[in-house]
Symmetry: C2
Subunit: 248 residues, 2 copies
């Protein structure tokens, strides 16, 4: 899918946080949104700088990394479409806590931070959508902390592989890792050689790997071993309904 | 400070997320808010249950812990006044990812989740305040992940002690640990004996401990060792200003 030749008006309508906004507002958002393409390994925003844009990923992959002042670096998150970065920094006008870099050729929408904040003050439904989006971001980070503190590397790897399964009821699945193992090690918070040991440890749980190809022979067994959390589907802000005046 | 004899109308006005709301809205919030007191070791909400309340801590201490399905448990966060829990679960209507338990006698405000969500749809400024609050919650969790992945236990302990310093420009400070060392070990993600070793490792960085008393003899040295992040003050939603119609 190439998004280059699609009108921005169509692209913004596909973004969850812009769902069910009225046409005038969408036109306004469209007017401030830019479509950009970046080659692999492009720094999109740097830790410590004040955000200029909220970015929404349409195609490609972005790695969010964090640096300690001593220069050491870690992978905080790997963002896939239709993910976004970095809403919290845009809303608080505080320096980014992470650096965003493209892993591969990527296509994105960029919304100016100041324009977005001004819009929020006039568009209650947008604010509600963003509350919902942010709540999910927060919960993902909570899961990350829980993972790091409660699970072994092999269990974390198991959970990560399970999250890549698109057919939750399947017994056996095969897929390609969507990024290289160095990045995966960073996301799991371990060194490359520890990741290899984790893959080896998962063999008895029915996990087979050949290069980038992964085969899960027994999803239930892997789920039990990894102590994976239940999958949870957001109920969402469905009970918050607009008021008759057309706004909220 | 005992909050029992203060009117709820006064208490809710001191909560940052209710700042600058108009009088009618505050009266409405007041009408749905309950003041409660809990003895030590009371479970306030259980991981996996759907939230009924947003809780705001006025006095005391709440420990948020996470459990893996295999029963292992970790301290996710220790909440001090005027902290809150668990906004993201209330907004998404998804099960709590954490269990909240009082560490000591605590006083709280409780706002029914459904009432709060209904209010958000009518009160844009409240939604904006909550966006701001949530952004800060998210950033705290990002810091937690960075800490776990980038810093040694001794560095994490150093950062945690530095965060307890109320006079950032002081060279030497003394204070009591606000909770026991078992809880501190959990928050740092290590076992009790590793915490003791971390305290020992910090001795050459000028950290002296006697029981619960801590003396930091050289804050600059400790800051350099712990690779502590710069302290960041939120600029906030100050640029999002209400519209003349009185709402937004």
């Amino acid at each position: 899918m190439d998004y280059k030749y699609q009108p921005i008006s169509v692209l913004i309508r596909s973004v969850p946080m812009f769902a069910s906004l009225d046409a005038d507002l969408l036109t306004e958002i469209e007017g401030m949104t830019e479509f950009i393409e970046v080659p692999p390994n492009t720094e999109m925003c740097g830790q410590g700088t004040i955000p200029s844009y909220l970015s929404i990923l349409l195609k490609g992959q972005i790695v969010m990394s964090g640096n300690a002042p001593d220069g050491s670096e870690t992978v905080m998150e790997i963002i896939h479409p239709p993910g976004h970065f970095v809403l919290a920094a845009v809303l608080t006008q505080l320096p980014y806590l992470m650096t965003a870099r493209s892993v591969m050729f990527s296509q994105l929408l960029q919304l100016p931070a100041a324009g977005l904040r001004a819009l929020l003050a006039r568009a209650p439904l947008l604010a509600l959508n963003m509350l919902q989006t942010q709540a999910q971001d927060f919960r993902a980070m909570v899961q990350h902390v829980r993972d790091l503190k409660l699970r072994s590397t092999a269990q974390r790897l198991g959970c990560y592989l399970l999250a890549l399964v698109k057919e939750p009821d399947a017994q056996i699945v095969a897929f390609r890792l969507p990024f290289d193992k160095g990045l995966l090690a960073g996301r799991l918070g371990c060194r490359r050689e520890i990741l290899s040991r984790a893959f080896a440890a998962l063999r008895v749980q029915g996990v087979e790997t050949r290069g980038m190809r992964v085969l899960l022979h027994d999803i239930e067994k892997l789920r039990a071993f990894a102590a994976a959390d239940e999958i949870m589907h957001p109920v969402g802000m469905a009970t918050i309904t607009p008021q008759p005046n057309g706004h909220l």
